[in-house]
Amino acid sequence: MKFNLKVWRQKNAKAQGKLVDYTIDNINADMSFLEMVDVLNDNLTRKGEDPIAFDHDCREGICGMCSMYISGRAHGPHHAATTCQLYMRSFKDGDTIYVEPFRAGAFPIVKDLVTDRSAFDRIIAKGGFVSVNTGQAQDANNLPVDKADAEKAMDAAACIGCGACVAACPNSAAMLFVSAKISQLALLPQGGPERNNRAINMVNQMDEEGFGNCTNIGACEAECPKEIKLTNIARMNREYLVASLVNE
């Protein structure tokens, strides 16, 4: 297969970036998108050019490292898939493909397609944890958890923190990410002690990082590789509202 690529190239955080045209041929339809970029980088290196910098790690859809805004969509055209799970057979031979980094003020570009998503880490550090007793682990049945709540918590915990929600949101809001992290703990008894502080602190940090505000457009839910639901955002709004009322 042959493709015309328009790839965002940017030397460093401060440099002005631009879309650069590349043509690539002899691509196997069963290659993943990242493997296609690997081939392109191999070609560039052989020509003595600077290869395209991009984030990747596990290449099996669980680490949340790969990003890329492909043909106008976070992680490309597929539903519930990361960029590493996108295969070239999803495109037509001769297609022109735009490849841009995830764009948001809170995700500054490091180089080319690599963005600094550590804003998420700082939000997690503000409350994405639970306090546990030291000593021997207690019997699991000591803490009864409703099956429905366990399911919802697990669904929220599926979030891999890739930032596709922020990238797809016209407002660059991080509400889906933060709400998933708040939900997974708020739904379980283990998350109880820090519940109110968690909601306040994580939301405040989110605002401090310069993410936009949620206007319930729903692009995040549609683009999330782990199918995190908008109901989490409503739960977070509830948690935040209650916490604001009762916290001193």
Binding site: W8, Y69, G72, A106, P170, G212, I217, R235, N237
Partner: protein, 206 residues
Amino acid sequence: MGLTGLFLIFFLVVHASINGCIWFNDGGKTFLYYAHFMGTNFLVHIAEVGLFAGLILHIVDGLLLWKQNRDARPEKYAYSNANANSKWYSRSMGILGTLILFFLIVHLRNFWGPNRLNQISTGEELNLFQLMQEDFSNVWMVLFYVAACFSLFWHLLHGFKSAFQSLGLNNVKYNKAIEIAGTAFAIIVPLVFALMPISFYFGWVK
């Protein structure tokens, strides 16, 4: 945004119900009876201040959101396929709201403004029914009102259920009900409003 939005939605219900009285087709008798109540009752005047405050809060809140959200992405995407993941009207609430505001200015100049000015200067109310008959004999005015109702339709189609989501009122048990109610509201209320100028223009209401 959600709270003020729901407040304005409540106003729409009141406004549509009273103006719907024109379809009693009694030469505006029933309509003018309620219009007189709304125009002269002391409590309604206080509520009117609240309504303007709610409207201004809604606008200011919207502008703040628009500015913060715009600033949150300093460099835009060169190519974006937003229609693949969201509805255009959900992304265009600011533009739709601005169109409604533009309509509102004309609308207040047509009816509310002259009526209040007349009340202040002469103590008498204007015959709003007659005023409608005059204004809606102009085809351009009718088209303008109908166009504004489309803006309202899309604004409500997103806004109604969005308000519940923002307030955290989201539960699988009643999500479907909110969605149906929101869509029905977004269709029915603008349709009722749009039918008013149309009814006058075609002489269905006399």
